[in-house]
């Protein structure tokens, strides 16, 4: 019975681990060997995290029935507001370029 193991790779010490891909292996020892071969043998990784896919808690539905867009950054059309503010202050892009 084989398991899918997700592999996360850290490129340099101190950097965050990022998803690199997955390997299929029957147990932890095989998973280590295969992950080393596929994601570590060219010196491209400082460290690896190898996690059985079933151990990952997957969350994918984000309900927003009341459309509370003020919780999100896209609730604020910043571009328009900035443009208006610049015009009021007389420092629009064109004006700044003339200086």
């Amino acid at each position: 019975m084989t398991t899918i193991w997700e592999v996360f790779r850290q490129e340099r010490r101190g950097q965050p681990f990022q998803h690199a891909g997955s390997v299929q292996a029957p147990d932890e020892r095989f998973a280590e060997a295969y992950a080393r071969e596929q994601y570590g043998r060219r010196g491209e990784s400082q460290a690896l995290w190898v996690v059985p896919r079933d151990s990952i808690l997957r969350i994918e539905e984000f309900v927003d029935e009341l459309n509370r867009n003020y919780h999100r950054v896209d609730g604020y059309p910043l571009k328009e507001k900035l443009k208006e503010a610049r015009e009021r202050a007389g420092t629009s892009r064109a004006a700044a370029g003339d200086r």
Binding site: V23, R29, A33, Y34, R36, R41
Partner: protein, 190 residues
């Protein structure tokens, strides 16, 4: 021939021929992941052979390529364990386990050598062989109760230290391995 060159050639031939044999699984290993891992091991073995041939070539005033590919099949000093073509996975793994165990002992002896070049190269090779051993032992754990695997271990064990001849398999491999080089027209260089 000098004793050091003889020893280096013996190990280099083991690694070259085993690397070639292991590479025969590329594209046809039992699992895709294993295909990648085993092909990588094959490539490492050939890399070790190259380093060993280079050192021997310096002693003998020749080149690594000439040592690897321009000798007659009967001149190769490799063990009979590696010259066999083993198209069954359990026999391939049995050879892998027997070879890695014997090679580990050999590398330990070489690392303790008073010859700094030999000891240094052995230490470098051993760092890669550590992963080969991990790979071999994990397969051994997995297959050790399988009758076919146990039979393969018993069948191949006596070949580990046999170096006084070769099986006809080596001649066939040699034909294939050196055919491109032997096809080079006289007076040309690659």
């Amino acid at each position: 021939m000098q004793a050091r060159a003889e020893l280096l050639l013996e190990i280099a031939d083991d690694e070259l021929i085993l690397g070639w044999r292991d590479s025969e699984w590329t594209g046809v290993a039992p699992l895709l992941e294993e295909d990648v891992a085993f092909s990588s091991i094959a490539q490492n073995e050939i890399g070790h052979a190259r380093a060993l041939y280079e050192l021997a070539a310096r002693d003998l005033g020749t080149s690594a390529d000439e040592l690897a590919f321009d000798r007659r099949p009967e001149e190769y000093r490799c063990s009979e364990l590696v010259d066999r073509r083993l198209p069954e996975w359990e026999r391939t793994i049995a050879r892998h386990v027997l070879y890695e165990r014997a090679d580990a002992e050999r590398l330990e002896r070489l690392k303790a050598s008073e010859d700094d070049e030999v000891a240094g190269l052995a230490a470098k090779i051993d760092r890669e062989e550590a992963y080969h051993r991990l790979h071999a032992e994990m397969w051994h754990e997995r297959l050790k109760e399988e009758p076919r695997y146990r039979a393969a271990l018993e069948e191949l064990r006596p070949l580990v230290d046999r170096r006084d001849g070769h099986s006809p398999d080596l001649t066939a491999l040699w034909e294939e391995m050196t055919s491109v080089r032997r096809s080079q027209p006289a007076g040309t260089t690659w």
